[in-house]
């Protein structure tokens, strides 16, 4: 491969940001342990294939970024209780269910550097165990007893499904523009980030403007996160994250790096994009050529720049909260999400 996203990253910044998530994890270690316990407890079933398959994905080294956001925002809002552990678990279950269904949909063979559940057990159990986890999330919310929480997460779930369908529709369509792409990633990724953060203020019973601010933080963080994910798909860095490079390209997913390269392309290059993405006719060397074109037109750099802009909006959303250790770490998480491109 050898062609990577390549900016003048500073080694210091990299070291700093790489550990922001670790710091958040350390700061919330007890809460996160409680979440992991609840996950194990609630994904259990007498039908042993269910905890087996769910355990494979739940335990396979996910960063638990989304539940951490719920835990952190609740603590930043001064919440003293334990309900945020339940809500963070619901968020992780919904996320895991969408991953299981995504893998069926994408026909992915790798997830977090391991064989994906559907590659091991087939599509059928992945669909059904996804349904099980999704239902379990709602059972947990009912136990928690807040209709506001149920409202937020049921709405997020249907928006996520809409986003995934929208992504299917824009696939293989090189006329997809940046606005359509943004609609997809807002729905399929950022909506759950937004909900995860909003829940922190809901559980702490904070006023509406704080709830809006946290939702806004999560939404923009989620957009930045997905923009970087889509840039990383064309980056050598990706291999170190346990993912294969070029999955999106092979699936004909139209992401911002491609959209920008296509917009800036002449007719010859457009013919290349149409052959590889619309006609789905890909040969050896096409991925490398695609990455080279992105480099030429600066479309990977510009994707990261966009992510940085959304990160800045996320940053400003936290202005209304008083300074403190959790808030600082939530600010650093923005850098983590953006700077992992290096």
């Amino acid at each position: 491969m050898g062609v990577a996203v390549n900016f003048d990253a500073k080694q210091d910044a990299k070291q700093n940001t790489a550990s922001a998530l670790d710091r958040l994890t350390a700061l919330l270690a007890d809460d996160l342990k409680a979440v992991n316990r609840l996950i194990m407890e609630r994904m259990d079933s007498p039908v042993v294939l269910i905890p087996q398959l769910a355990g494979h994905i739940v335990a396979s080294g996910g960063k638990r970024l989304r539940p951490l956001l719920t835990l952190a925002t609740a603590r930043m809002c001064g919440y003293p209780g334990e309900r945020h552990v339940t809500l963070a678990t619901c968020v992780e279950f919904i996320h895991t269910a969408t991953l299981l269904h995504d893998d069926v949909v994408d026909e992915s063979d790798l997830r977090r550097g391991q064989d994906s559940a559907n590659a091991i057990w087939g599509n059928k159990p992945s669909v059904l165990v996804g349904d099980f986890l999704f239902s379990r999330a709602f059972e947990l919310m009912v136990l928690d007893g807040s209709l506001e929480v149920l409202r937020i997460l049921s709405q997020a779930s249907s928006v996520i499904a809409e986003g995934e369908v929208l992504q299917l529709i824009t696939a293989n369509d090189t006329t997809t523009d940046e606005a359509a792409y943004l609609a997809v990633i807002k729905a399929k990724t950022a909506e759950l980030f937004a909900a995860a953060c909003e829940l922190g203020s809901v559980v702490a019973d904070r006023p509406a403007h704080e709830q809006d601010a946290l939702k806004n933080y999560g939404l923009n963080l989620g957009i930045a996160f997905q923009l970087i994910d889509d840039a990383l798909d064309f980056s050598a860095k990706q291999a170190t994250l346990g993912k294969t490079v070029g999955d999106d390209f092979r699936d004909g997913k139209i992401t911002l790096p491609i959209i920008l390269a296509f917009e800036r392309a002449g007719e010859d290059e457009r013919a290349f994009w149409r052959r590889t993405l619309e006609d789905d006719e890909q040969n050896d060397g096409d991925l490398e050529h695609a990455i080279a074109l992105m480099e030429t037109h600066g479309s990977l750099d510009d994707t990261v720049a966009r992510a940085r802009e959304y990160g800045n909006i996320a940053r400003k959303s936290l202005d209304i909260f008083p300074d403190g250790e959790v808030k600082n770490t939530l600010l650093e998480v923005i850098d983590f999400c953006v700077e992992r491109a290096y």
Copy 2:
């Protein structure tokens, strides 16, 4: 085919029972119209593929049996309001979502006599639109605002998913016994019937023993319904219902007609069942031979007899309710579910 479930059915009884569902539909015509309106309204999305695909399955001539049960039990309980329309819609959305996911799982090409959604649009949209409808059901429940309703339907949903996984595990396993089979159909089918009926008493705010009685009615009706479904899969009658015959046999699903025939079989016949169901090696004429063996051992008759027993339990569950038109029709629906085998 020509080999059908064959008892001394009386033509009168048949005519009588065939129209029980029509009578229920007529009795609740206004309510059902309101359900259909709400279904159309709530399955809408700016992502047009969603209402397109959902509409294909929602509008393809389903009997609306489950939502009718919610509407009917609510009316039998003297409920005067409109909430039961919302709850019946939630039940139908959950049912439709499981159908969409079932078709992916079963790789079915036909559903209600039409091409199944996944045969037209592929697996991906079917999984995602199922997720969308499932989420929409929960959004509707939140709007309704009853945690008890949310508890009943979230629990039913996870039990359904467990039942579907259990069915996958028992597939192709000729050592599956009647108890394991019953566990599967209780979970995958009867649980939603039970929930649909229970909701009628919940919305009417009736005491716990009435809620239990309606849950019990639905559970046993659902078991009877699925037993007959599984008998019909080997019946010439099936073709008239717009379904192909022998789907379960081809999928290696171990249903009661097969379990009973296997138990009563000598070694030669067991070798046949093992070859066709465990080794998945099926040739021309095998389905006909399977049906002939079931006839020899009376296993289709006995499956229908079992359905009739569960129907009788369902019937007794309604004893505590005062007589009336809706109760009478709910009793006739039991006959409809059992006697459609003829």
